[in-house]
């Protein structure tokens, strides 16, 4: 279970580049829940995931994960509880190391790394089976460097790595946005499969209305560093792409209103 209490984050505070990326987010995600996050560009979706993963520490608020307060934990420590797939396929794997070595690193996520062999027989023997399930044709290439793989293959592997040890929380940040439609489809199907098989508590950001409506049991829409809508249960199940588009349109009109209001103020006072 993930509990987020009133977290806020301002980048470059007190400068011209000040960005109030999170302005008080409250969110409780039940164990096993699959939450889809949508929102306009720059609304703070990635910042929310980064705050949970510990890429930076939040200015205010608290984050509890699996019953532990992790608010002050550094990123690598939170990784004992969290599995993660990034938007950029280059971010999640070590390009000059082999598929097998990358997986061996994932197999020790959050554990002590000592002087035991990283690729003992007992481990490499089970690799092929796991990799075959990705249906990416990688089972025969375990000794190849990751650098030679396509974006889709990398994301599939990163997904396998993030979930190799069952995480308390899986974070997916637009992890199919950089892929061609076919690979994106494959990776999304894999994600769904793994999440439902292991009943993973998941927070997935997506830009695809299609994915937002068909996946997950809850949807939150972010806007300007806040949660604007939170749909669960039957409301989420009934949700169609058109409904979502309507909500985005609403946000856009709100923005326009804001702008006209600002213009009016300017004209009156400046």
């Amino acid at each position: 279970m993930l509990e987020i209490r009133g977290i806020a984050k301002t980048f470059n505070p007190g400068t011209l580049n000040e960005v109030r990326a999170l302005q008080g987010v409250d969110l409780t995600i039940q164990e096993g829940s699959f939450v889809v996050v949508i929102g306009t560009n720059g609304s703070g979706k990635s910042t929310l995931l980064n705050a949970v993963a510990g890429t930076f520490l939040v200015d205010t608020g608290a984050i509890r994960l699996a019953g532990t307060d992790v608010t002050r934990w550094p990123e690598h420590r939170r990784a004992t509880l969290i599995g993660r797939v990034f938007q950029n396929p280059f971010s999640g794997t070590a390009p000059h190391m082999s598929i097998a070595e990358n997986l061996s690193l994932a197999a020790r996520r959050g554990r002590r790394r000592g002087l035991g062999w990283s690729l003992p027989r007992i481990f490499t023997d089970q690799l092929g089976e796991h990799v075959r399930r990705l249906s990416m044709g990688l089972e025969g290439r375990l000794d190849n460097a990751i650098g030679s793989l396509s974006g889709g293959q990398r994301q599939a592997l990163t997904l396998l790595m993030a979930t190799w040890l069952k995480p308390q929380l899986l974070l997916l940040d637009e992890h199919t946005a950089a892929l061609d439609p076919k690979s994106a489809d494959q990776v999304i199907r894999l994600s769904e499969e793994i999440v439902s098989r292991d009943r993973l508590t998941t927070l997935m950001v997506t830009h695809s209305m299609q994915q937002a409506t068909s996946l997950g049991d809850r949807l939150i829409m972010m806007h300007r560093g806040r949660v604007l809508h939170d749909l669960q249960g039957s409301e989420k199940r009934r949700l169609r792409v058109d409904d979502l588009l309507a909500r985005f349109e609403e946000v856009r009109r709100g923005e326009l209103l804001d702008e006209t209001a600002a213009d009016m103020l300017k004209q009156t006072y400046v």
Binding site: F86, N102, L105
Partner: protein, 312 residues
């Protein structure tokens, strides 16, 4: 032949330097200038301890440890105090200059009558050979002292190479390589990248200091100036090794660094014999590394230019 076998031996000893540079520059992509201070530190510690009667083995180990502490210091400056990597190395290197002078109490410590690893190797060889003054290495007649040190260095470097290879195949070593390859990824997998960098630089500079400790015992002195230019020297060896091997495989890269170091030293010995002014050596080495660094890009842009011309 004595000169050439000497070049082989020094090439072997300095391959420890090459391996250290390989770890910091190639594995961690960290331009570590500490190297110039830590090779001298290794020599200084070993020589000073030998003079006060410590056994050669322990003096050598102490040299390694000194280098490891220096490397860890650079790593801490960089990770904990957020000082630029290059500057962290420069700070530690500069500090080491004074430290080395303090340790020796003067700028040069000769090892004339002290028992060193070189004299130990010589004694052992002499007793094995039953007192002959010369023996045969790969068909060359060489003096016992030179031959013994050559064989000793060869075995020692082989051992270090195997240990290093094994280490980088362990969970810790693999995580270190990953920290150099993709820090964001290994952080997301729960490893403390700061610790990896500190440990990696400690290992790298430990090896460099080991080279210094062996070099002092082979040459018979430690000198506060002996580290100058050693980073470029090590880089040249690594680059030659990569050209010789042309493979990204870990084991072969380690072998390549050793081969590169030996080949480079042989080239230098031959060039010096052909009349090259020793004072020009560092200029030539720097030019060589410069060319090796820009050549791949230059060739690639030439190729793409040609392609454009033919396409037009």
């Amino acid at each position: 032949m004595t000169l050439l076998i000497g070049a082989w031996t020094i090439g072997l000893i300095l391959s420890l330097l090459a391996l250290g540079v390989f770890i910091s520059f190639r594995i961690f992509d960290f331009p570590d200038i500490t190297t110039e201070g830590s090779i001298t530190l290794g020599a200084t510690i070993a020589a000073t301890l030998l003079v006060v009667g410590v056994s050669p083995a322990w003096a050598t180990v102490a040299g390694f440890c000194g280098g490891a502490v220096a490397g860890a210091t650079t790593g801490i400056l960089h990770t904990k105090f957020k000082i630029h990597g290059l500057l962290s190395g420069i700070l530690v290197m500069t500090a080491l200059y004074s430290i080395n002078l303090r340790i020796m109490g003067k700028s040069n410590v000769p090892l004339l009558s002290e028992v060193t690893l070189a004299t130990r190797a010589e004694q052992l060889a002499a007793s094995l050979l039953g007192g002959a003054a010369n023996f045969n290495v790969f068909g060359w007649e060489v003096g016992v002292r030179d031959g013994a040190m050559f064989v000793f260095s060869l075995l020692f470097i082989a051992l270090v190479g195997v240990l290093l290879y094994a280490f980088f195949r362990t969970n810790l070593g693999t995580a270190m390589r990953a920290a150099g390859d993709n820090a964001q990824m290994i952080k997301a997998l729960g490893a403390n990248v700061d610790h990896m960098i500190i440990g990696g630089l400690a290992l790298a500079n430990g090896l460099v200091a080991l080279a210094g400790a062996l070099l002092a015992q082979y040459q018979g002195f430690a000198d506060v100036q002996m580290g100058i230019g050693m980073v470029v020297w090590g880089l040249a060896s690594v680059i030659i090794g990569e050209a010789l091997i042309g493979s990204p495989s870990l084991g072969l890269t380690i072998v390549g660094a050793v081969m590169g170091s030996i080949l480079f030293r042989l080239l230098v010995a031959i060039a010096l014999r052909a009349g090259l002014d020793p004072n020009d050596l560092k200029l030539i080495t720097a030019t060589f590394v410069f060319l090796a660094l820009i050549l791949p890009n230059l060739l690639a842009s030439l190729k793409s230019n040609n392609a454009r011309v033919t396409n037009a």
